[in-house]
Amino acid sequence: MNRYALYPGCNPQMAEPELLKATYAVAEVLGIELIKLDRVSCCGGAHLQDRNAFQSLLLNARNFTFAERLQMDLVTICNTCQYILAEAYHTLTTDTYTRKQINTRLEGENLTFQGTSRPRNFLYVLREDIDRTAVRQQVRRPLRGLKIAPFYGCHLYSPSMIQAVYTDNESPWNPGSLEDLISDLGGDPVDYPSRNQCCGFHSSLYNPRTSHDLVHQIIGQARENGARVLITPCPLCHANLEAFAPGKSIPILYYQQLMGLAFGLPWKSLGLQHNMSVRKRELLDLLPVVPEFLRR
C-alpha cells in the first residue's frame, strides 16, 4: 500500500469540504493511505508572503517536519499549497544560510527541517505512483462520450523551474495529465485555450471584476467547445469558478469527484451535495449509464 502524509490545507477544511471527502474516497479505492496532518499550519496562501516572507518560510519548514517524522512525502490537494510548499522546500534545500536561520528558530520547539519529505500534489501521485491501468481497472461506469473540460489553474505546476521534478515535467503551456485521466475514465477531454489560465482567485476579494471576467472566459470557452462538465484539481479555482460562474453554468467538479463517479462511488461519499454548480438530476442525466444505487 502507498502511504502519504496529507497536507489538508485550509479551504478543504472550511469552504470546500467535498474535496477532502472525494480525495479520501478515491484514495481508498486505489489502495492509497492518506494520513492527515492535523498539527500543520496554513501555507500562507501567497498572501502571508506579502507581509512577512520569513514567517511564511518558518511555518512551512515546520509543516514539513510532521511529514518527515512519518517518513513520508507531503501530499497536497491544493494548487497554491503545492506552489508555496514547493518553493519553501526549494529555498530550504538550496539556501544553507536561510535553512540554518529557520532551524535555529525551530529548535526552540524541538523541531528540525531535514528535507527528507518532498512536496507532491495528489494528481501527480496518482500519475507517477499508481499505474494508469490500475485506475482504468477501477472504472465501473465509464464516462463514455461525456465531454469534459479540464481546468488546471496555475500554481499546480508553476514555477516549472522548481516544480517540474514534482509534476512529471508537465508543461505549463501544454499540460496533459488531466486529459489522460479523463481518457482513462472513458470520457472525452475537451481542448480549449483557457485550460491553463488563471482564475484570479488571489485578488478576487479586492478585484472581483478581474475574477469575474476570467471565470466567464474560462467557462464560456469550455462550453463553446462542447464541454458538459468542467473539472479542476484546485479548491481555490473551484471556489472562484463556482462563485463567479455565469447563471447557467456547467457543473464544476474536482477530478477526484469525477473519478468517484466513474468508480461508481455513492453521491454523498464524494461530497457532491456541497457543489454549488451541481444539480443532481442534471449531472446524473449527463452520465452515460447511471446505476440505481447512485440515484438514491
Binding site: R51, L58, E109, C198, H274
Partner: protein
C-alpha cells in the same frame, strides 16, 4: 544527425492592407541546434520574402524577437525548435505577442508597453548627501550646489546589489507583458516588466526618485492588480522572476502604508491575524475583516455557500491542533 520535420502555422496580417488575418502553413525540416529564428530566417530567405518579424542581435540580448508559439511567449532567437516540438508536438502555431496590436505579420505595435515602461521612470535619480552629514563611508562627490556645499552620491555596496542584480538583466522583450492575463482586462495595469523596473530602483540605495512606491502601490495600475498566476516568471527569457519582485513590492507598499482603499492592506493583515489565532485560515472572518460593510455585496453568495455547507461562521474554526506552537513561532519571527 538527420533533420526532423516540423509544421509551422504562421500568423499573417498587414494593417495597411486592412484585410483580415490568415495563417500560412510551412512544412520544414530543422536540425537539432536550430532556434525558432533560424527556421523563420529560412522561410524568409528561401520561401517567402514578405514574412515580417523583428530581430536584431540573435543572441537573446536585444529582446526584439519575442513572439508566441502555441500561446507561449518566447524569444525566437534563443528557443530551440526541438524544445518546442517536445513541448507542443510537431505542429506549431506562431503568433505575434498581441494579435490586437499587429502592424504586420509577427510585428506588434509596442507603444503601450513602452508607455508603461516609461511611467516607471527607468533611470536613477541620485540621492545627494551633504558633506557634513554622517552618510555612507564610500561616496563620490558630484557638482557643487548653488549654495557652495558639495553633495555626495552614496556608493552602492556589493550586499545591496544582490537585491537588484537580476532585475537589472531585463531586456524589455515584452514576453512577460504578453503572458500577463491581467493586461487585456485592466489596460491601465503597468504589467510585470515596468513593475520589475520600478523594483530595481526602489531597492537601489542611490535612488531618490519621489513617489516610486506610491506609483506601484496605486489601485488600478500597480501591484494590487496582480493575480499571482506566475505566468511572467514562467516566460521570462532571462529568468528574472518578476513575480518575486512584485511580491517584495507588496511588502514595501504595506510597510510604507501607501496601499490604496484599505481593503488590500486589511486583507493581508487579516490573513496574518487569522493564522495567529487558529494556525489555519477561515475566509469568512477574513472577508468580514477586510471588506467591512461592503460584505453586503457578497450576501447572495454567502447564503448560497451556507446552504451548501460551505460557510464556517465560527471564527475559531478551523483550528490547527498545533495552533499554540504556530502562534509562538509567528510571534518570534515578526
Amino acid at each position: 544527425m538527420a533533420p526532423d520535420s516540423v509544421r509551422l502555422n504562421i500568423f499573417r496580417y498587414d494593417a495597411f492592407r486592412g484585410e483580415s488575418h490568415s495563417y500560412d502553413c510551412y512544412d520544414l525540416t530543422y536540425h537539432q541546434n536550430d532556434q525558432l529564428l533560424d527556421v523563420l530566417e529560412m522561410i524568409k530567405t528561401e520561401i517567402d520574402h514578405s514574412l515580417s518579424y523583428r530581430r536584431s542581435c540573435r543572441h537573446g540580448i536585444c529582446g526584439s524577437c519575442a513572439m508566441k508559439v502555441n500561446g507561449k511567449p518566447v524569444l525566437a532567437c534563443s528557443t530551440p525548435v526541438r524544445d518546442l516540438v517536445r513541448e507542443f508536438g510537431p505542429k506549431l502555431t506562431v503568433d505575434p505577442l498581441d494579435q490586437s496590436r499587429v502592424v504586420r505579420d509577427l510585428i506588434c505595435d509596442m507603444d503601450m508597453f513602452w508607455e508603461k515602461y516609461t511611467r516607471s521612470a527607468p533611470f536613477l535619480e541620485p540621492v545627494t548627501v551633504q558633506a557634513s552629514s554622517p552618510g555612507p563611508a564610500a561616496a563620490v562627490s558630484a557638482e557643487p550646489l548653488d549654495d557652495g556645499k558639495t553633495p555626495l552620491i552614496p556608493l552602492i555596496f556589493s550586499g545591496s546589489t544582490n537585491a537588484i542584480d537580476d532585475a537589472d538583466h531585463c531586456i524589455m522583450c515584452g514576453a512577460c507583458y504578453a503572458a500577463c492575463p491581467v493586461v487585456p482586462l485592466q489596460p491601465d495595469f503597468l504589467g510585470p516588466a515596468a513593475i520589475t523596473r520600478s523594483y530595481r530602483f526602489i531597492k537601489d540605495v542611490r535612488d531618490a526618485h519621489p513617489g516610486r512606491l506610491a506609483a506601484v502601490g496605486e489601485a488600478g495600475s500597480g501591484v494590487w492588480e496582480c493575480i499571482k498566476c506566475l505566468k511572467c516568471t514562467e516566460v521570462c527569457p532571462k529568468q528574472i522572476d518578476p513575480f518575486s519582485k512584485l511580491s517584495r513590492l507588496h511588502q514595501e507598499v504595506l510597510r510604507s502604508g501607501s496601499s490604496p482603499g484599505g481593503i488590500r492592506a486589511r486583507h493581508t493583515s487579516g490573513f496574518q491575524l487569522n493564522l495567529l489565532l487558529n494556525g489555519l485560515l477561515n475566509e469568512f472572518p477574513l472577508a468580514v475583516f477586510a471588506m467591512r460593510f461592503r460584505m453586503i455585496t457578497m450576501l447572495r453568495r454567502g447564503i448560497r455557500m451556507f446552504l451548501h455547507g460551505k460557510l464556517v461562521i465560527n471564527p475559531l474554526r478551523p483550528r490547527s491542533r498545533g495552533y499554540r506552537q504556530i502562534r509562538r513561532l509567528m510571534r518570534r519571527s515578526r
